[in-house]
Each structure stands twice: as structure tokens, then as C-alpha cells.
């Protein structure tokens, strides 16, 4: 190959890379994409095998990139930019880009809502200082579901103005298994850790969209078990938008311990103790997973009891939130799931509950590409139609770097 051809090829590769990065930066930040559905079902025993984060989510390791192509997708190359460019071993770059179309009916007199919007655009970076230490950061642009200018241009323009970093932390992790520690902003390990923030077990436990906290966390990951302990605090009250957050302003402790059996099942106990000015929550729960290889079905469950106290109002209440789902993997590159969710905001008062029924189809036609079709039906009240109903159909187109 002549030097001019080589230069031209390099320029083309750089151009493609720049184009993809530009597209990504036009959308919105969301969540470090985590797929707990792939634990056991893909032959992977623990989340930290595929992700640099010891609790999963976010930037993929080289093993995770290989798995994303060879096991999870129907084909392709899972490497960064499909293998067009390689990064030095100390540098990891990745990202998630999602565009969503939704149809939402909540019984509003305005009728069914239709929307198309950039949902997520996060770029992940990891710089290894040496074999043990690394700096990790996520930066993205917030997606906006309902901007004042409802046109596609208005949606992209509205999203483009708000850059934020949901995760940034320093990590000590000398090996894939063993002890680790990290300090900075991320979600404290807890629960099933779905990518879908609308699920009740995320929304009502302190893990809704942009509720990442500042933490000092440590843990130990072994092949068949892991424990994580985290002290957390909310972002500063008057923080700049880059690092601001949402949700109850609680500080406290989160603990999660998981035991895995025969590479096909896991049971975890967890707690989260959050103390705020207006309210405090003491949460305890169980997480379970069971992979039935013959049927190619993964069962996932989580149930949490929450004791919430309101200091000024001198009142306390108990809550319950749960998820029960099953995912079926009929062929490589296809995942179909159903789930039932329950949240009761006060166990002492009837008709304060809500139920959700979900059906989801994920198709991974090629490495880096995913289409997600989600149907969700919600009932408020005691489960009967004495409250409202809501139905949602959403199509997501997802590309990861």
C-alpha cells in the first residue's frame, strides 16, 4: 500500500469516527447501559466480566465486546468502531446512542401522545493509570421527551444544550476478581440494575434517571459471589448542570451481596439506608435469577420493603416494590421478555398500589446495533380499574460504540 493510500484510509477512518461521535453528541444522556438479562444466559457468570465497572453497566471490556458480537448479536465485530480503529491498551472508549419513538396513552383528553426524540448519547472513557488504577467518566447530552418546540429540529436543539456527566470516578481494581474500591459519581450497586429506568424497582428505590450519587465504594468480586458496600451522598445542592442530579436528597449506605450457583442462578440480599431532610428510607430486599438452559429462559425477580419516615410530618409508612420477569432466547440475537411489576406506596392504605405489565422484544441484528420494542400497561389503585390506566408502546433504536 502506498503512503498516500494509507493516509487516505486513515482519513476515511477518522472521518467515520468523527461522524459517529458527532451523531452521538446530538442526542441525550441516559443510563450506563446494563443488561442483567445477559448474566447466565450468555454464559457469563458475573457483570464485571463484560464491563469495566465491577457491578456492571457502561464501558465494555474486550471480553464484553467479543461476547456482544459472538454470543449476543447475529454477527459483526464488537470491537470499538467495528474494529476500524484500535485504541491503546490504557485507553477505553465507548458510548451508547438511542433514538426512541413512543405512543403514550394515559387517558388524557388530548388523546394519545406520539413522540420521537433522541433518548441517549453517552460517551464513555476509561484511562488506566497503571495496572490497578483508572479514571472513568461518562459525558453526554440530556434527552428531552417533551420540549417546548415539538419538532425534530426543536428536540435535537433542546437536547444539544445540556451536557452532563452521570458518572466520573477513580477506581482501584488490580484484577477482574478480588477487591476493588472507587470514589466518585455512579449508581451504588443495588437491585437488578436494568437499563430501563421506568421499572418500579429503579424508580422507587433511588435509582431513577439522573439519580446517580457521589460515593465511596468498596467490594470484593469472586467467581461465585460478590459483595459491594457504598457510602453515598447527593450532588451538591447548587451544583452546575454538568453534575447536577434529581431525586430525593438522601445520603447514607447501600450494601449488596450476591451468591451464584452452578453458573445458572443467583440470589442476592441488599439494603439501602438513605437519610434526607424531609424523609428517610430504610430499604431491604432480595434479588433472584434462575437460568433454565433447556428452555432458554432466564427468570429474574426483585422484591424490596421500604420503611419511609417523614420527620416534619411526624409520620411513617411502609412500601413494597417488586419485579418478576422471564426472558426467552429463541435464537442468537433475539431476546423476548415479559414482566410484572408492583409498587405500593403505603402498605397501610389500600388503593395506593400500581401494577405494570411489560412485554419486550430485543433484536441484535449486528454487533453494535439493537432494536427494542417495549409494550407497557399500568393500572393504578388496588389492581382493579378504580384508578387510571396507562399504556405505552416504545421503539428504541440503539447503537453502541
Amino acid at each position: 500500500m502506498t503512503s498516500s493510500m494509507s493516509t487516505r484510509l486513515r482519513l476515511v477512518k477518522l472521518g467515520i469516527s468523527g461522524l459517529i461521535l458527532a451523531v452521538v453528541l446530538l442526542a441525550g444522556a441516559r443510563d450506563a447501559a446494563a443488561y442483567p438479562q445477559f448474566q447466565f444466559s450468555s454464559g457469563t457468570n458475573r457483570c464485571g466480566q463484560c464491563h469495566y465497572s465491577p457491578a456492571g453497566g457502561g464501558l465494555l471490556t474486550s471480553w464484553g465486546r467479543d461476547e456482544s458480537a459472538d454470543t449476543i448479536s447475529m454477527g459483526g465485530d464488537g470491537a470499538f468502531l467495528h474494529g476500524l480503529l484500535s485504541t491503546p491498551s490504557w485507553l477505553g472508549i465507548g458510548g451508547d446512542f438511542r433514538f426512541a419513538f413512543l405512543e403514550n396513552d394515559v387517558g388524557s383528553p388530548e388523546g394519545t401522545e406520539f413522540a420521537a426524540f433522541p433518548m441517549q448519547a453517552d460517551v464513555y472513557g476509561r484511562a488506566a493509570i497503571n495496572d490497578s488504577w483508572s479514571i472513568n467518566a461518562t459525558i453526554g447530552v440530556r434527552g428531552i421527551v417533551r420540549p417546548s418546540d415539538n419538532s425534530i429540529g426543536g428536540r435535537i436543539g433542546a437536547a444539544g444544550g445540556d451536557i452532563m456527566s452521570r458518572e466520573h470516578y477513580l477506581m482501584w481494581r488490580p484484577s477482574a476478581t478480588g477487591p476493588y474500591a472507587r470514589v466518585g459519581r455512579f449508581f451504588a450497586p443495588f437491585g437488578l440494575r436494568f437499563v430501563e429506568h421506568v421499572y418500579y424497582v429503579r424508580r422507587y428505590t433511588g435509582y431513577d434517571l439522573y439519580e446517580e450519587t457521589y460515593n465511596a465504594s468498596a467490594g470484593y468480586v469472586a467467581e461465585d459471589w460478590e459483595v459491594h458496600a457504598t457510602l453515598f451522598a447527593p450532588p451538591p445542592r447548587n451544583a452546575i448542570e454538568l453534575i447536577a442530579g434529581t431525586g430525593p436528597r438522601e445520603a447514607g449506605f447501600a450494601g449488596y451481596g450476591e451468591l451464584r450457583l452452578a453458573k445458572t442462578s443467583a440470589i442476592a440480599v441488599q439494603t439501602r439506608l438513605g437519610f434526607g431532610d424531609l424523609e428517610s428510607r430504610m430499604t431491604g430486599g432480595l434479588v433472584g435469577k434462575l437460568w433454565v438452559d433447556k428452555a432458554k429462559i432466564l427468570f429474574l425477580g426483585e422484591g424490596d420493603l421500604i420503611h419511609q419516615t417523614f420527620s416534619t410530618a411526624a409520620y411513617s409508612q411502609n412500601q413494597f416494590v417488586s419485579f418478576l420477569g422471564a426472558d426467552f432466547y429463541p435464537a442468537r440475537g433475539i431476546m423476548a421478555g415479559v414482566a410484572y411489576e408492583r409498587f405500593q406506596e403505603n402498605l397501610g392504605v389500600s388503593r395506593t398500589g400500581r401494577n405494570a405489565y411489560d412485554i419486550q422484544l430485543n433484536v441484535f441484528p449486528w454487533a453494535h446495533c439493537e432494536a427494542v420494542l417495549l409494550g407497557r400497561y399500568q393500572l393504578t389503585g388496588a389492581g382493579a380499574i378504580d384508578g387510571g390506566t396507562a399504556s405505552l408502546v416504545m421503539l428504541q433504536l440503539h447503537y453502541y460504540l
Binding site: 450457583l261 434462575l290 427468570f299 413494597f320 417488586s322 392504605v349 389500600s350 388503593r351 389492581g383 384508578g387
Partner: protein, 133 residues
């Protein structure tokens, strides 16, 4: 069966039970009497903050319609009253109730209706003078 296998299966059964536990509690429970305080110091952190101050709606980030319920309880109260979403002692004419019931107004929250008992509690707070108590 070897002891190790027994332990494995017992733990797997516990895992399955943990996964199935939500079904056992799915029917709902509780009394028909609502003993919750109709005070803003309860209503804000228990209902308004988790339902309305979410990332895509009235949060520090998004401020839909210029409304931000994510700053503090006091600021949320000020916005509800000063912008006339709430008319103290007059729940029937308070826009907030129309929005929550989707009664001639767009449904709030836009992703699902609040339970009727929550709307009733907010109505009671307004009827009692909508104090910042």
C-alpha cells in the same frame, strides 16, 4: 444426593422463591381508611417529589412549563400557590386537581395517573387552606 448438591438446590429454591415473592404480594393490602397527614411536609416528599420532579418533567434539569419541583419543598410550595395551580381552600377550582384528574386538562403525571386516594389527599390539603405545614 451429596450434601453439596442439596445445599445448591436449597439455595436455588430460595432464589426462585425470592423471584416469585412479588406475586404473593401482588394483590395489595392495607386499610380503606387513609390515615396519612394532609400536610405539605408529607405530600411533597411522598407524592409530588417522586411523581412530578422527575428528570423528564419538573426537575432541576427540565423545568417543564417553567415549573421546577426539584429545588426544595419551600420552592415547590411557592410555585404551586404563586402560579395559581392551587387556590387555598378551593380544591374544586384548583388547576392542580384538574391536571391530576385529566378533567379538561392534560393528564399529570403524563406517564400514569396518580391513585385516586393520593388526589383525594391533595384535595383535602387544599380544602384545609393549602398551608405550607
Amino acid at each position: 444426593m451429596r450434601p453439596g448438591n442439596s445445599l445448591t438446590w436449597i439455595l436455588r429454591a430460595v432464589g426462585v422463591l425470592a423471584a416469585l415473592a412479588p406475586l404473593a404480594l401482588s394483590a395489595g393490602c392495607g386499610s380503606d381508611t387513609d390515615d396519612r397527614p394532609a400536610q405539605f411536609s408529607f405530600i411533597y416528599p411522598a407524592i409530588i417529589e417522586p411523581s412530578c420532579a422527575t428528570a423528564s418533567c419538573h426537575s432541576n434539569y427540565t423545568r417543564e412549563a417553567g415549573v421546577n419541583f426539584g429545588l426544595s419543598s419551600g420552592e415547590a410550595y411557592f410555585q404551586l400557590v404563586a402560579r395559581h395551580f392551587v387556590i387555598p381552600s378551593d380544591a374544586n377550582d384548583s388547576e392542580l386537581i384538574y391536571l391530576l384528574k385529566a378533567d379538561g386538562a392534560p393528564r399529570m403525571p403524563p406517564d400514569f395517573a396518580l391513585p385516586e386516594v393520593d388526589i383525594d389527599l391533595i384535595s383535602t390539603w387544599i380544602a384545609n387552606g393549602a398551608m405550607n405545614n
